[in-house]
């Protein structure tokens, strides 16, 4: 399925960069897109000496044929970033065309990234290629939640290609996963359950998820928690996310330069 290319003139790029210089955190936010294209605007919700909390807010209708969203996230050494989304994203019928959604996150030594992704819905007729690439240092802490919904309620989904690559800075692979799902494969791949909720963590102790969520212990020490369910609210494991968020926040505050200097 290498045919899913889109024209490059509609690329919208969102940048979220957080760096810590020991005294305070520097936050750089930007987004730009060609005039016709929608974009994802980063909005600062809060920041302190330790890090920042940023919302990714869609500006314009997302996600339509030929849209190409690129989100670049960089968390510098010792910094902490939390990303939230105000709502889910729906990929609409693309009438034979397609769209892309690419995320590239870099998390440096001693840094943390906590990203609570909202449902990404693949409607009938949508064709979407999503790539999530995370480059994480050995001492980085990462938790990313992704919820893929194949079709709106009672709807036969379009085509989704989800590629996830999590690697160390030297390229050593931690998790390489591709999920290519359409209506026919939804049954076989996912047992007919159209919602896949995943939480990927790196640098955190294993947590006990709800019984409907399966924990995968990766070779390199990270974890993937995954539930396949009939609906997004059934798939969501709020208890797990609370544990993960607490683990990241507590360790972040302990390791922050300002906190240890007190």
């Amino acid at each position: 399925m290498g045919t899913m290319s889109t024209s490059t003139d509609l690329v919208s790029t969102t940048l979220v960069r957080v760096a810590c210089d020991g005294e305070r955190v520097r936050v750089e936010l930007s987004s730009h897109a060609p005039s016709a294209a929608p974009q994802v605007r980063p909005m600062l919700l809060a920041s302190d000496a330790a890090g920042a909390r940023v919302a990714l807010v869609p500006d314009g209708a997302l996600l339509l044929a030929d849209d190409h969203v690129r989100i670049v996230v960089e968390v510098g050494a010792g910094a902490a970033l939390e990303l939230v989304e105000p709502g889910g994203t729906v990929a609409y019928d693309m009438d034979g065309r397609s769209a892309r959604w690419d995320v590239h996150a870099t998390v440096s030594e001693g840094a943390s990234l906590l990203w609570h992704g909202e449902p990404f819905v693949v409607s009938a007729g949508a064709r979407v290629r999503r790539t999530t690439r995370v480059v994480a240092a050995e001492e980085a802490r990462v938790a990313i939640r992704e919820v893929l919904v194949l079709g709106r309620h009672g709807e036969v989904p379009g085509l989704l290609e989800q590629h996830t690559a999590c690697v160390r800075p030297d390229g050593h692979p931690v998790l390489i996963e591709a999920l290519e799902v359409d209506a026919a494969r939804c049954q076989a791949w996912l047992g007919g359950r159209p919602v896949v909720a995943s939480v990927m963590t790196l640098g955190l102790d294993p947590q006990e998820p709800a019984s409907s969520t399966v924990r995968f212990d990766l070779e390199e020490g990270g974890h993937v928690y995954r539930a396949c369910a009939g609906s997004a609210h059934e798939a969501a494991d709020h208890g797990l996310w609370d544990q993960v968020a607490r683990a990241i926040r507590s360790r972040t505050s302990n390791s922050m330069p300002t906190a240890s200097a007190r």
Binding site: H163, H172, P173, V174, L175, I176, E177, A178, L179, E180, R185, Q187, A188, W189, L190, G191, R193, V196, V214, R215, F216, D217, L218, E219, E220, V224, R226, C228
Partner: protein, 211 residues
């Protein structure tokens, strides 16, 4: 031929190719299950074997191939099963070819995967990459098929027909991965439901097959 024979003393009869937990969860479409495996987990294994074979033939280190396979096999239960099978096959390979450099290279790894051990056997016997991939695919289909006869009330002739009908898909899978040489090019086709079943099965004591 020998490598694909269920009578080889490598405990192949203890494997159901993940079918047992699938059946326990209500799966009845075994041919569909076989097809799903051929395009996901079995394809990853076959590709890892093909790339390992290339590395053995070129005397390149295997560490990157094993790391690529492990990163594409998120289920610890599946990695453990593969390594247990690899260990059994390696014991046999060391007896058969005690002086073969390819076998020694894989034996030097810390708990090699089954694809890596199969690749060493292929390197010694002169089996090409496409034949190796076909062997991985065929073996998987037969493993599931013979387990199906023990788990479900089936006519053995029907099951033989399923295997026969799956052969073009085995061939297509083998052709698709036969040319791979780089660990980065190993496909990463995940199958969340298969992986979840594998994890559930590893935790239960009520089972006929080990995996």
């Amino acid at each position: 031929m020998l490598l694909a024979d269920a009578r080889l003393p490598v405990a192949g009869h203890t494997q159901s190719g993940g079918l047992e937990p699938a059946v326990a969860d209500g799966l009845r479409d075994v041919p569909g299950y076989v097809r799903t495996r051929l395009t996901t987990v079995t394809r990853v294994d076959a590709a890892a074997g093909v790339v390992a074979l290339h590395h053995l033939r070129q005397a390149l280190p295997l560490g990157a191939v094993e790391a690529a396979w492990a990163a594409r096999t998120p289920s610890l239960a599946m990695r453990r099963t593969s390594r247990a099978q690899g260990k059994a096959l390696l014991r046999l390979a060391v007896r058969l070819w005690p002086d073969a450099p390819a076998v020694a290279a894989v034996a030097a790894l810390d708990s090699p995967s089954r694809p890596a051990v199969l690749a060493s056997c292929a390197a010694v016997t002169g089996l090409g990459p496409r034949s190796l991939a076909r062997l991985v695919g065929y073996d998987d289909v037969q493993t599931v098929a013979s387990a199906a006869l023990k788990l479900l009330p089936l006519d053995p002739a029907d099951v033989a027909c399923w295997v026969h009908d799956a052969l073009p898909e085995v061939e297509a899978m083998a052709e698709g991965v036969a040319g791979l040489t780089s660990p980065d090019d190993i496909p990463a086709a995940g199958a969340p439901q298969l992986e979840a079943w594998a994890e559930a099965h590893a935790r239960t004591t009520r089972r006929l097959f080990s995996a």
